[in-house]
């Protein structure tokens, strides 16, 4: 069955290469069929708490509406990871987009929050000053999935692995297993929102060190929660636009950049016509990385920056969506 599906998929690619927009597979098939494509969207929805950003509700409603409309068309992302999803207002996306499984990242009080801040001063009387960073917001992370989610785990960045205003949020890494029908092992999905750059309002070296510490924590987290046997997708706002950040991230995290792979593979991967290579490669903080498993090959076949529309003249967020479609191939299960 998988072989049949993959043949359809390959034929579909070939048809597109030939300039024919034909042969769209049906939107639904039997429940034991492995999907040929896994669509993953990461989107920083910029839902900072009021009064920092006002008039956000209408934009969140529109985001939910877009996801719902795509679901009705059968083209919705299979997995959505959201960043900066702070507050109750974001529930509209969870409730109206139709996703069956939801994981929320840690809230404000969750997780260990060890002593120490990057701005901690030892001299002078310290007993009356707070020794830990104050968390006024949770992680702002939400994972939505059409496929069954199991074993979600998280870790929070410790006190010194943050810089400036970002320390006020309980930033974290969340990993979950996505059970996809027909695959021997689940796909591991990891999302996070790394320290911002200039908007953190901290010295550049402090911001860079915090980002590198977060990368180190992610590498440690991956070493504990994943193996080379299971397929892995990292999708989130990793804030890697700065070359020094991106370089360190790539050196420490053993995963391929979906955009690099897509643009290297030539005809087997496509960008949306509105999407430029720079938007998915390096001039972006939103990224997706991936690693195939021993039994499941992941191949990016399509990338799109979406959610670009304006609502009353305003963008839906200060980010756009970053959606990657991964072809799923199970070479060892051809007859299944």
């Amino acid at each position: 069955m998988i072989g049949t599906v993959m043949t359809q998929y390959k034929f579909y690619i070939l048809a597109l290469c030939a300039g024919f927009g034909l042969l769209a597979p049906s939107a639904h098939s039997a429940s034991d069929v492995t999907p040929s494509i896994l669509r993953v969207l990461t989107y920083n929805i910029n839902a900072l708490p009021s009064p920092v950003i006002r008039h956000k509700t209408a934009r969140l409603n529109r985001i939910a509406q877009i996801l719902r409309e795509r679901r009705e068309q059968g083209t919705q992302p299979d997995i959505v990871v959201l960043q900066e999803a702070f507050g109750e207002r974001c529930n509209v996306i969870i409730e109206q987009s139709g996703y069956k499984y939801v994981v929320r990242g840690p809230g404000r009080k969750s997780g260990r929050n060890p002593r120490g801040t990057s701005w901690g001063v030892e001299s002078g009387r310290s007993y009356a000053k707070r020794a830990k960073p104050q968390k006024f917001m949770g992680s702002g992370l939400i994972i939505l999935s059409d496929y069954k989610i199991t074993n979600p785990v998280f870790t929070t960045f410790n006190g010194k692995a943050c810089a400036g205003l970002d320390c006020l949020a309980n930033k974290a890494i969340v990993m979950t297993e996505i059970t996809i029908p027909g695959l021997d092992s689940p796909v591991k999905l990891v999302t996070s929102h790394f320290n911002s750059n200039r908007s953190a309002k901290a010295p550049g070296a402090v911001r860079l060190r915090a980002h590198q510490q977060q990368t180190d924590i992610l590498a440690k987290f991956l070493a504990r929660t994943t193996s080379m046997k299971t397929p892995l997708i990292l999708a989130g706002d990793f804030n890697t636009r700065l070359p020094a950040r991106y370089q360190y991230f790539r050196e420490e995290i053993n995963a391929l950049d979906a955009a690099e792979s897509c643009l290297k593979t030539g005809i087997s991967c496509a960008l949306d016509t509105q999407t430029t290579p720079s938007e998915v490669l390096y001039l972006t903080d939103d990224k997706q990385f991936y690693r195939s498993g021993s039994a499941t090959l992941l191949t990016p076949v399509y990338i799109e920056r979406n959610f670009r529309e304006l609502l009353d003249g305003r963008a839906l967020s200060d980010h756009t969506g970053y959606e990657v479609h991964y072809a799923l191939d199970t070479p060892g299960q051809g007859g299944k």
Partner: protein, 270 residues
């Protein structure tokens, strides 16, 4: 590379909803702890030198050895440079607790010869409470002390606010201002001149009343020398006013309303 204008449609699973039906299933994530639980103890120790007024209201300065010790247990019980206490309330914004501290008095040997007749003020033991409010890099602390040892039988109140500036990855600067209030008994002991002292020194008799007696502007500078080593420096300029500013001691040729203090020390944290 191929540029296409439409998303590749997928073969979705039958379990996948085609419309929003029914409430979503929330799955709770559990925490994965990557680091070992830290020690219950933390603190610092160090040594340096300090340039301080020879006595309260002095216009002369002395260079002293400046020893530094801080010891915290479970972020609750602490000893910090002669102050010992317990943090009784601690939440995201504020903390409060009780403390006792030993405070040096006035040494006769630090007094200039003509006013040695002021005599010494013994070291005392203060008991008090503190409240600290923190918001991001800004703090505001208030401390109220009363003399438990009978040396002054007075009370003092300090209010301090500051903001931490990160100058670079390794350096931080904390400008702050501090206001000090003292009861009549406290100020009389350090700035008052009774009849006997007046006869001994020639200073005009003076009876201090409670007042806001010193305003201080200062800054703390810290530089990381290594993972656990820091160079700390601080300087502040105080201005005596109220009962302290009007004291004959402060106004004498040996006194000054300006009170400067500077410290530099090497600290090891653990």
């Amino acid at each position: 590379m191929l540029m296409i204008g439409m998303a590749l449609p997928a073969i979705a699973n039958a379990d996948v909803r085609s419309s929003p039906t029914g409430p979503p299933i929330y799955i709770k994530a559990t925490e994965l702890t990557l680091e070992d639980r830290g020690s219950n103890w933390h603190g610092r120790y160090g040594a340096g030198i300090a340039l301080v007024p020879e006595f309260a209201g002095s216009g002369g300065y002395a260079l002293d050895l400046d020893l530094d010790l801080k010891l915290f247990w479970k972020n609750t019980f602490f000893i910090e440079n002669g102050t010992m206490g317990v943090i009784a309330f601690n939440n995201r914004i504020w903390r409060a607790g009780m403390l006792v501290r030993g405070v040096q008095g006035r040494r006769v040997r630090n007094l200039p010869e003509p006013i040695k007749g002021l005599g010494k003020v013994d070291a005392r033991l203060d008991g008090g409470v503190f409240v600290g409010v923190s918001l991001y890099k800004t703090y505001l602390t208030g401390e109220f002390f009363t003399d438990l040892s009978g040396v002054t039988d007075g009370e003092t109140f300090n209010l301090e606010t500051g903001y931490t500036m990160e100058l670079s990855r390794k350096t931080r600067l904390v400008p702050y201002i501090r206001l000090k209030w003292g009861s009549g008994q406290h100020l009389q002991k350090f700035f008052g001149v009774n009849t006997a002292q007046s006869l001994a020194t020639g200073l005009t008799p003076y009876y201090a009343k409670m007042s806001l007696y010193e305003s201080i502007a200062g800054m703390v500078f810290e530089n990381d020398l290594g993972k656990n080593w820091r160079l700390g420096a601080s300087a502040h300029m105080g201005f005596l006013h109220g009962a302290a500013g009007n004291s004959p001691i402060t106004r004498s040729q040996y006194g000054s309303r300006g009170q400067f203090t500077a410290r530099i020390k090497l600290l090891k944290t653990f």
